[in-house]
């Protein structure tokens, strides 16, 4: 077994036991990245020198008998909207192509504290707006299961690089499905925690009330290990909970689900869903029943309005969050004759078409005279949706649902049709709007493409999701490494 096939837990164990040096592990993963990157284009900024220096420092620390943390020696990759001190952070945008943050995102510092080695920064849709990485200003990432297809988005580079073995753990942000949809498309785990579980400090926001940071992994154990590292309180993020987090890895011991109720959303039945996804859901349902769970129907009558409301709230917040890119303080600054000219030219040159589309929408729905008709009304729908979820979780402990309506689509297939592109978020964005935890996991393969399914839990109900996932991993198997034939 090659080192790049190993899980993060195994690598950390090997380092602790002295079986492999960090330098060796990092070198193997950099080699994997070098070999596949010409095909996949998952990385915006590889960090080879930095990773090698960090590996050497960790090896010295280990030789001195220190144990820097639970991820010591584990290569990791973060989405390129995570601020990294002295390392450029582009958000895959011309606007920030050369921006070097003066500080680390909290999650980056937690990973560093745990001994992880950052080996690269992953491609994404510009400012996390998109579902395919086709809206990256630099290049489109390929799906490691079929390079003619997209890896999903917006955290497509993180998903593809984890699936292909650049690193056993990668990280992304999820505003409407940006972790779970690419996880499904790349056949791995992708988890969006409860809103407030993980600090958002230092992750360039898309929509602050919906964004949440989460991990990608190829084993459930790795996913939970990653959660234990990043899910900590942070006084720099007022929306991050101060409560103690559970020991997530306890869920790995779960072998049966007696007394647990798995909910199926009645309203999701009406949607057009690809056959292999329907089959995967059936397999999962059977495995959960086998483990002793019961299956119940739950109802979310308002969920069909979710997409429309999401595409009001998220652009509204984005229009304000992205106002600061004005050419005055950082990032792109166009040559201009006047202040207004500076604003116009900088934003015209710095933002791509999808970002502009959403900023225009967001500015419009917040404008006086439209605020109540759009933004305020959308907030009311969100409140109703939250109530409906709360009621549903009175009847079920966890909800089983598709992650996406389709298998990975081909590059260019949806790029000219924003609405069709937005539809791929249909099943993921309700969890963001209600602030709920949700996991995409691999439910099998169809003609060489992975098939993702989703578990949604109640607020702070991470352990419900992970318990069900533990049972499913035992029954359906862990994800396979992608890119074997590349």
């Amino acid at each position: 077994m090659e080192l790049f096939e190993c899980s993060a837990a195994d690598l950390a164990r090997a380092v602790r036991e002295g079986a492999h040096s960090v330098a060796e592990i990092v070198e193997v993963h950099l080699g994997r990245m070098d070999r596949l990157e010409p095909v996949l284009s998952a990385i915006v900024t590889p960090l080879k020198d930095e990773a090698r220096a960090r590996a050497a420092a960790l090896d010295i620390a280990l030789a001195r008998g220190e144990n820097p943390g639970p991820l010591t020696g584990v290569p990791v990759i973060v989405k390129d909207n995570f601020c990294t001190r002295r390392i450029r952070t582009t958000c895959s945008s011309r606007m920030l192509e050369n921006w070097i943050p003066p500080y680390d995102a909290t999650v980056v510092s937690y990973l560093e504290r745990a001994g992880a080695v950052l080996i690269g920064k992953a491609n994404m849709d510009e400012f996390a707006m998109g579902s395919s990485t086709e809206h990256s200003a630099f290049f489109t990432t390929s799906n490691p299961w079929d390079p003619s297809r997209v890896p999903g988005g917006s955290s497509g580079g993180s998903a593809a690089s984890c699936a292909a073995g650049y690193a056993p753990l990668t990280f992304g942000s999820d505003t409407g499905g940006s972790i779970r949809q690419p996880a499904a498309f790349c056949g791995i785990y992708g988890f969006k925690p409860t809103y407030g579980m993980v600090s958002r400090y230092g992750v360039v926001p898309f929509a602050s009330s919906l964004d949440q940071i989460g991990p990608f992994a190829r084993t459930l154990e790795d996913l939970l290990l990653a959660m234990e590292v990043i899910a900590e309180a942070d006084e720099k993020d007022a929306t991050c909970s101060r409560a103690l987090r559970p020991d997530f890895r306890k869920a790995l011991d779960v072998t049966d689900l007696k007394g647990k109720r798995v909910g199926l959303v009645r309203e999701f039945e009406g949607y057009d869903i690809d056959g292999p996804i329907v089959d995967a859901l059936a397999r999962a349902r059977a495995a959960l029943l086998d483990a002793g769970a019961t299956v119940v129907d739950v109802s979310l009558p308002t969920v069909s309005h979710g997409l429309a409301c999401y595409y009001i709230i998220a652009p509204a917040e984005a229009s304000s969050n992205l106002a600061r890119f004005d050419g005055v303080r950082y990032g792109l600054s166009a040559e201009a004759d006047s202040l207004i000219d500076l604003y116009h030219r900088t934003r015209k040159a710095g933002f791509g078409p999808e970002v502009k589309r959403r900023l225009l929408t967001g500015t419009y729905v917040l404008s006086s005279g439209y605020y109540d008709a759009y933004y305020n009304k959308a907030l009311k729908v969100v409140a109703i949706l939250r109530d409906e979820f709360a009621r549903a979780f009175g009847e079920a402990d966890v909800i089983l649902a598709p992650t996406t309506p389709t298998l990975p689509f081909r590059k260019g297939e949806n790029i000219g049709d924003p609405i069709k592109m937005y539809m791929s978020d249909l099943f993921t964005l309700p969890a963001n709007m209600a602030g709920l935890p949700a996991l995409s996991l691999n439910g099998g393969y169809s003609d060489g493409l992975p098939v993702g399914i989703q578990l949604i839990g109640p607020r702070w109900g991470e352990m419900e999701i992970f318990s069900a996932a533990a049972v499913l991993e035992k029954a359906l198997g862990a994800p396979r490494l992608a890119g074997g034939d590349l």
Binding site: L96, P101, A105, Y330
Partner: protein, 488 residues
């Protein structure tokens, strides 16, 4: 029939809160004289990914003002984003409050210059962050003509409390008095230094005229009034200007005007007249701010005495004059010092008199405040006790006071150092002094003895010299008696 006019003024006062750190980050608020962009961090620079966290102290200070103004302090309040582009605004939105200000309603009452009671309703007081400062390198420091501008973000994120009045104010003098009272309040509460010149207290005025023929002039906003005097002058100018226009049948343009203190005129601000749509919406980075009732009670419990409360107490309990009471109530420190003196046994009126003349003089001369003043209230009280007991003349006491202040020493050593002993200079000690003075002034002595001092001028002169030599510590009658005996 001649038209008459009624002036309608509403004030928006921005008070810079005296917190150590900024409203949403840990940076220092001490920006005056600081190197540009030295008190900054990712949060107040609006770096991508940074997030705000509310400064609890700023909330407390806002609550104190609310309680003092009789506002309803909202237990659940929230922050909104006010979106507009300007280079001094590091995020291109300002975090402010909109539909749920921390303090709603309230009232401020005061006496005008003629002693008439005036009451102004308060609309609201809300928390918001200050912006940075633009520095224009052109010759006259203005934006026009400058090839570029520099931005200093040291002030970015400094907490402000915006206190908005109802349009209840009917004259420029009342606007000035209202502002004086707000300033006195925030100083007394320790909420702000309230300094208009340095921008800790900024006043914007909305002023319009109601005409007796039923017309209403448009509302004009006046900015850039950096002192109480310029506030009153600007509004007086504006009253005249608006009345003249309306009197000639013209219309007042709704606009923002800039007060030019040198010219003594208001002028329309250039290029700022486009209608703004601030697209307010609740800031998703900040959860609703809950001021729990226990916390509210805690703040109420430590509220200092309000200026108007202190003022009436000083009159009723200590018998101070209205004028004296007002001077003392200007600052909580001064009131506390007076209270301390009286508690240590000093006579209220004498203590008030000494503090007003001597203590405040020293503070003025040394440009310090009571916090750094070395003389304890109890030390001053023991000095005044000697004066009251007839053991020390006022003159001698002032000498001792000066030494106590200068050397930072207690009463006893100060008396020794200034060569004063408690009690009267009398008996042989007084005789020795008298003999010395007489010996030094033979001419005068001779004149008196030979009857060339019919009006007693020379005797008074000699008497004065003796009193001075004893630093006023001799009994005048005894001195007169002694001189009469010696000069026969």
């Amino acid at each position: 029939m001649a038209l008459t006019f009624q002036t309608v003024i509403g004030l928006e006062i921005h008070v810079q809160l005296a917190t150590k750190s900024k409203l949403f980050c840990a940076c220092s608020t001490d920006y005056i004289g600081a190197r540009p962009n030295s008190n900054v961090c990712p949060v107040c620079l609006g770096q991508p990914g940074s997030l705000p966290v509310v400064n609890g102290r700023a909330v407390e200070l806002a609550v104190m003002v609310g309680l003092a103004l009789g506002s309803t302090v909202q237990q659940a309040t929230r922050f909104h984003r006010k979106n507009y582009f300007y280079p001094d605004l590091s995020k291109d939105y300002q975090i402010s409050q909109y539909d749920l200000p921390i303090c709603a309603g309230g009232r401020l009452s005061f006496r005008d210059d003629d002693g008439v009671e005036v009451s102004v309703a308060i609309t609201r007081a809300h928390l918001e962050e200050d912006a940075g400062k633009l520095v224009h390198p052109s010759a006259d420091g203005r934006l026009a003509g400058a090839r570029y501008s520099l931005v200093d973000y040291n002030r970015s994120g400094v907490p402000l409390l915006e206190i908005v009045s109802e349009p209840d104010i009917t004259s420029p003098a009342h606007a000035r008095r209202y502002t004086e009272e707000i300033r006195r309040l925030v100083r007394c509460l320790g909420v702000s230094d309230g300094d208009m010149e340095s921008g800790s207290l900024r006043v914007d005025a909305n002023i319009s005229q109601k005409v007796s023929d039923g017309r209403w002039g448009s509302r004009v906003e006046i900015k850039n009034m950096n002192s109480l005097r310029s506030l009153e002058r600007a509004l007086e100018y504006e009253v005249k200007r608006q009345r003249k226009v309306l009197g000639e049948g013209g219309e007042i343009r709704q606009e923002t005007r800039h007060w030019d203190d040198g010219e003594g005129k208001t002028r329309p601000m250039r290029g700022k007249e486009e209608a703004h749509d601030y697209r307010y919406f609740p800031d998703p980075d900040l959860p609703p701010l809950i001021v729990e009732s226990d916390r509210l009670k805690g703040i109420a419990a430590v509220m200092p005495e309000l200026p108007w409360q202190a003022e009436s107490r000083l009159v009723s309990a200590y018998g101070l004059s209205d004028d004296d009471a007002k001077i003392f109530a200007e600052s909580a420190d001064t009131v506390a010092y007076l209270d301390g003196c009286i508690r240590a046994g000093a006579d209220p009126k004498r203590a008030a008199n000494w503090i007003r003349t001597e203590v405040l003089r020293v503070l003025n001369e040394q440009k310090i405040d009571l916090a750094t003043f070395t003389l304890e209230a109890s030390d001053l009280a023991s000095l005044l006790a000697l004066v009251d007991g007839g053991k020390l003349s006022t003159t001698a006491a002032k000498d001792v006071f000066d030494v106590m202040v200068r050397d930072g020493v207690a009463l006893e050593p100060a008396m020794t150092a200034s060569g004063v002993t408690a009690g009267l200079v009398e008996g042989s000690q007084l005789e020795d002094i008298a003999d010395k003075i007489l010996a030094e002034n033979e001419e005068a002595v001779e004149a008196v003895r030979s009857g060339r001092d019919p009006k007693g001028k020379k005797v008074k002169f000699l008497q004065g010299l003796i009193m001075r030599e004893t630093r006023g510590q001799a009994d005048v009658a005894q001195v007169e008696d002694l001189l009469r005996r010696r000069l026969i």
